[in-house]
C-alpha cells in the first residue's frame, strides 16, 4: 500500500530521471562506434543536421552517411526495442501477478523463432518476409499458450498460464530444431537472428515504430487497472474493474510489443525480466510507475548494450543478445544486493 501512495507523488521525478539516463545513453551511443570518428566531429555533424544551420564537420560523405544511415537509426531502434521488451515484461508480470513472467516465457519468442526459421527455410530469397513471419509467430505463440492455459486451468490461474507458456515454448522450439535439420546451410542465418541485431537502419526503425506507439499507449493507459488487479480478481471486480477484459487487453498489448520487437531485431533476452525488476526495486511496485519507467529504462539499457556490442571488440562486433546477458546479469545481481541492503 505504501508503495502505491509514495510513487504517485514521486512519479514525475522518476520519469525525468529516467529520461535523463536515456538521453545520456543515446548520446553516448551516437558518439562512439566502430568507425574512427572523433566525438567532436559527430557533434558538429549533428548540429549540421539541424534545420537552418550549416556547420562543416569535416567528415567525408561516406562517414556522414554511416552516421545518419547506420549509427543514428541503430541507437533509435535499440531504444525502441529495449523499451518494448521491458514494458512488455512489466505488462506480463502485471497480468500474471508473477514477477517471473516475461515475453520469452509465454511462447512469444519461441513462436517467432519457429516462424522465422520456417520463413528462412521455405523462402530463402526474401528477407522481407522474416519480420512478418516473426510477428505472426510471436502472436501465435502467445495465443497458443493463453488458450492452453485457459482451457487447462478453469479459473485462468496465472501459474497454469505460465506453465502453458513453458510447454508451448518447448514444443515450438522442438519443431524449430526439427525444421532446421532440413536446411543445415541456413543455420548460420537462423543463429544470427536468434542472437539479435538492431543494425537494420531506418527501415527497421519505421517498421517497429507504429506497433511500438500503439502498444505503449495501450499499456501505459492500463497502469492504474493493473494496480487494482494486483489485489486480486474478485476484489478488482467488486471495485468495478473488469478483470478479464483488462487482463486480455494488457496481454494483447504486451504481445504486440514483444512481436514488434522480436520481428525487427530477433531474440534479445533478459531485458523483459530484468528492467521491470530493477524499476520496482528503485521506484516501488505501482504499475503507473513501473510501466513508463520500464519503457524508458529498457530503452536506455539496450542502447548501452548495443554500444558495448559494437565497440568492445571493434571493428568486430558481438551479438547484442550476448551482451544483454553478459552485462545484464551481474548488473541485476548488483541492484538486488544494493536495494536489499537499503530496504532492511
Amino acid at each position: 500500500m505504501a508503495a502505491q501512495a509514495g510513487p504517485s507523488r514521486a512519479r514525475p521525478l522518476w520519469i525525468a530521471c529516467a529520461l535523463g539516463v536515456l538521453a545520456v545513453c543515446m548520446i553516448a551511443g551516437l558518439l562512439d562506434g566502430a568507425a574512427d570518428i572523433s566525438p567532436w566531429q559527430v557533434v558538429l555533424q549533428a548540429v549540421d543536421w539541424l534545420p537552418f544551420v550549416h556547420v562543416d564537420s569535416g567528415l567525408a560523405p561516406v562517414e556522414q552517411g554511416l552516421l545518419f544511415e547506420l549509427r543514428l537509426p541503430r541507437v533509435l531502434v535499440a531504444a525502441v526495442v529495449g523499451g518494448l521488451l521491458a514494458m512488455a515484461g512489466a505488462g506480463y508480470q502485471g497480468v500474471f501477478r508473477n514477477p517471473l513472467a516475461d515475453p520469452y516465457l509465454l511462447g512469444a519468442a519461441a513462436g517467432a523463432g519457429l516462424a522465422t526459421t520456417v520463413a528462412i527455410v521455405l523462402l530463402p530469397e526474401s528477407g522481407a518476409s522474416i519480420p512478418v513471419a516473426a510477428f505472426l509467430g510471436a502472436v501465435g505463440g502467445v495465443f497458443l499458450a493463453y488458450t492452453l492455459g485457459n482451457t487447462a486451468g478453469r479459473s485462468g490461474g496465472t501459474a497454469t498460464l505460465v506453465l502453458a507458456g513453458v510447454a508451448v515454448t518447448s514444443f515450438l522450439t522442438a519443431i524449430q530444431t526439427f525444421v532446421q535439420q532440413f536446411k543445415v546451410e541456413e543455420l548460420q542465418r537462423v543463429y544470427s537472428w536468434i542472437l539479435g541485431d538492431v543494425g537494420g537502419g531506418w527501415d527497421q526503425f519505421w517498421l517497429v515504430l507504429p506497433y511500438a506507439a500503439v502498444s505503449a499507449v495501450l499499456l501505459l493507459l492500463h497502469g492504474r487497472m493493473l494496480d487494482v488487479l494486483s489485489v486480486g480478481d474478485e476484489e478488482a471486480t467488486s471495485l468495478g474493474v473488469p478483470a478479464a477484459r483488462v487482463r486480455l487487453t494488457v496481454l494483447l498489448a504486451a504481445s504486440l510489443a514483444t512481436a514488434a520487437a522480436v520481428a525487427v531485431s530477433g531474440l534479445i533476452g533478459f531485458v523483459g525480466i530484468v528492467i521491470p525488476h530493477i524499476v520496482r526495486r528503485l521506484a516501488g511496485g505501482s504499475y503507473r510507475v513501473v510501466l513508463p519507467l520500464s519503457l524508458i529504462g529498457g530503452g536506455a539499457f539496450l542502447v548501452l548494450a548495443d554500444l558495448i556490442a559494437r565497440t568492445v571488440i571493434a571493428p568486430a562486433e558481438l551479438p547484442i543478445g550476448v551482451v544483454t546477458m553478459f552485462v545484464g546479469a551481474p548488473f541485476f545481481v548488483g541492484v538486488l544486493r544494493m536495494t536489499r541492503r537499503t530496504a532492511t
Binding site: 568507425a35 574512427d36 554511416l66 547506420l70 530469397e125 543445415v184 546451410e185
Partner: protein, 318 residues
C-alpha cells in the same frame, strides 16, 4: 593441430609416374619410405599409414568403398582419380555432379547410416559428435582432414588423401598443377597498387581475415584485408561492424554469399550507410561462387583465377 606430413610406406614405389611432378613443392613432396617388399604396381604399396588430423591411420588394402562427409574432400577424391572408389558422399557435396550424393549429413553425422554404406574408409573434415571415435568402435578407418588454414595444408591434405586411397601419383600431379597455376597467378598480379578488399561470408556481415585459408588466397595478390583490423579474439571470421566497413571503404568487395543469400552490388547498396562505398560506385563488387570460396580443394585455383581477374581489372581501372 594440423596433420603432419604424410608418412606413407612405399606408395610411390614401383610406380612409373614421374617423381618430378612434385618438384615445385619443397615441403609438400611426400617422403617415400620403401617397404621391405616392393609392392606390385596396381596394389601400390598397401598397407599404407597416413598421418591425419586424428593421428596415424593405417589402411591394410586399397579402399574400394569410400564415404566422404566433406564437400571439399569429395572434390579432391574425384580430382585425384579416386572417384570410382567413392560409394557415398554427404548432402553438401554438390561437385562434381557425378559424385554419389546421399542424404548423409556432414553436420550431424549418423553413424548407423554411414556404416550401412559398408565403407572401408570414411573421410571427414570435422570431428563432430566424436564421429571418429564412434566409427573407430566399429573398426571403420576414418581420415580426419580438417579445414586448411594455409595453401600448403590444402596441398598436404590432397597428397594424404591420395596416399590413403592409393592414388598418390595422381594426387601429386594435381598438387603440382595447382602450385604451378597459383604461382603463375601470383606472378601476374599487379603488385604496385595497394588495393584494399573486404571478403564477405554472410550478410550480417561476417568477414574473413588474412589468417584464414581464403585470406591466404587473397594474400597472393598483394591485397590489404580490411578485416585484419579486427582483434584476434574475434577469430579468423569476425562479425564486422557495418559502420567499420563503411568507413574503411574497401576498393574491392568480394561476396561469398551469392548463392546462399542472394547478395549483389544492389543489395549492398541498399544496406544502411553503404550506398556511397567506392567499391559499389566503381563497380568493384565481385560475386564469387559460394562453394569455391568455402572449400580448400583442387578448385581453389578457379577461385584464385576469379580473384586474379578482378584484381587485374581493378588495377587497370584505377
Amino acid at each position: 593441430m594440423r596433420p603432419r606430413r604424410t608418412a606413407l610406406a612405399g606408395a610411390l614405389l614401383g610406380t612409373l609416374i614421374l617423381a618430378g611432378c612434385g618438384q615445385t613443392g619443397t615441403t609438400a613432396t611426400p617422403s617415400a619410405a620403401p617397404t621391405a617388399s616392393s609392392a606390385p604396381a596396381s596394389a601400390a604399396g598397401f598397407p599404407v599409414t597416413v598421418e591425419a588430423g586424428n593421428g596415424k591411420v593405417t589402411l591394410a588394402k586399397k579402399p574400394e568403398r569410400i564415404v566422404s562427409l566433406s564437400a571439399t574432400h569429395t572434390e579432391t577424391l574425384f580430382a585425384i582419380g579416386a572417384g570410382s572408389q567413392v560409394v557415398a558422399v554427404d548432402d553438401q557435396s554438390n561437385y562434381p555432379p557425378e559424385a554419389p550424393k546421399t542424404d548423409l549429413s556432414g553436420f550431424k553425422p549418423n553413424v548407423e547410416a554411414i556404416v550401412a554404406q559398408k565403407p572401408d574408409l570414411v573421410i571427414v573434415s570435422n570431428d563432430i559428435d566424436q564421429i571418429v571415435a564412434e566409427l573407430g568402435k566399429v573398426n571403420v578407418p576414418v581420415l580426419l582432414e580438417p579445414a586448411a588454414t594455409k595453401l600448403d595444408e590444402a596441398y598436404e591434405e590432397i597428397a594424404e588423401i591420395g596416399a590413403a586411397t592409393g592414388n598418390q601419383a595422381k594426387a601429386d600431379e594435381v598438387v603440382s598443377g595447382m602450385k604451378t597455376a597459383m604461382d603463375k597467378l601470383a606472378a601476374e598480379a599487379p603488385k604496385d597498387k595497394k588495393l584494399t578488399y573486404y571478403h564477405e561470408l554472410d550478410q550480417t556481415p561476417y568477414a574473413a581475415t588474412s589468417q584464414t585459408f581464403i585470406g591466404q588466397v587473397y594474400g597472393l595478390f598483394g591485397l590489404t584485408n580490411i578485416a585484419d583490423k579486427a582483434p584476434d579474439q574475434a577469430g579468423g571470421y569476425p562479425k564486422l561492424s557495418a559502420e567499420f566497413v563503411a568507413q574503411a571503404d574497401p576498393d574491392m568487395i568480394f561476396l561469398g554469399d551469392v548463392k546462399c543469400c542472394g547478395q549483389s552490388k544492389d543489395t549492398l547498396a541498399k544496406r544502411p550507410g553503404w550506398k556511397g562505398l567506392s567499391a559499389i560506385k566503381n563497380d568493384q563488387v565481385i560475386q564469387l561462387d559460394d562453394d569455391l570460396a568455402s572449400r580448400w580443394g583442387p578448385r581453389v585455383v578457379q577461385l584464385a583465377e576469379s580473384i586474379g581477374a578482378a584484381v587485374a581489372k581493378a588495377g587497370a581501372k584505377s
